[in-house]
Symmetry: C2
Subunit: 114 residues, 2 copies
């Protein structure tokens, strides 16, 4: 997935860092993909950056939003709430979620080689 | 690496999402580790969350800082500046760097199983 290109700040970031349990997938992969698509349909969604989970089960997803109101609406979205409950019951050993106001952003792109 | 446990907000996050070039390591791994250790010695450093780079060369590191002044000092630190230049010359295909003020944070930890 290429890096997100966004409008100029200010906007909001939701930083979600998580460690999976050792249990079987039990729907985790499908739900994660569905939630990613569902987030992208929400009002105020700007983009996201996400890495594949590493060997220690650690993953980071940062999603970007126009304002706090769109983050709040996404938090209350019904399917998302159900997925979050499954996350706490089954899928995650631990996680941290941080809501932050992005104030400055810089992009770097290597010039294409001839 | 366990997830960072931090004091209560507000504090600052530097969200660094990057894609490596296809070139050989050329000192990247050693320098990345050194920079991680050097950051941790800086005044105002609070912690960081980082994933191993995935199969597409994508990685996300989020470092946390007490205030904007500590981020600014880290940006100007000499060894870090040299590493950043190498990053643009050799190591990274593209990256985005965002500075954000963390306003709310939530932690979840699964209760230990008996």
């Amino acid at each position: 997935m290429p890096l997100s290109r966004l409008p100029s700040p200010p906007y909001y970031a939701v930083i979600f860092a998580s460690v999976r349990t050792d249990e079987d997938d039990e729907g985790y992969g499908i739900t994660a993909t569905e939630m990613s698509h569902l987030a992208a349909e929400q009002e105020g969604y700007l983009g996201q950056d996400s890495t594949a989970r590493d060997g220690e089960g650690m993953g980071i997803t940062v999603s970007y939003w126009r304002d706090e109101a769109s983050i709040h609406a996404w938090k209350k979205q019904l399917d998302h709430t159900a997925a979050r409950n499954m996350g706490r019951e089954k899928w995650y050993k631990s996680y941290t979620l941080r809501v932050a106001r992005v104030e400055r952003a810089y992009d770097f792109d290597r010039p294409e080689q001839a």
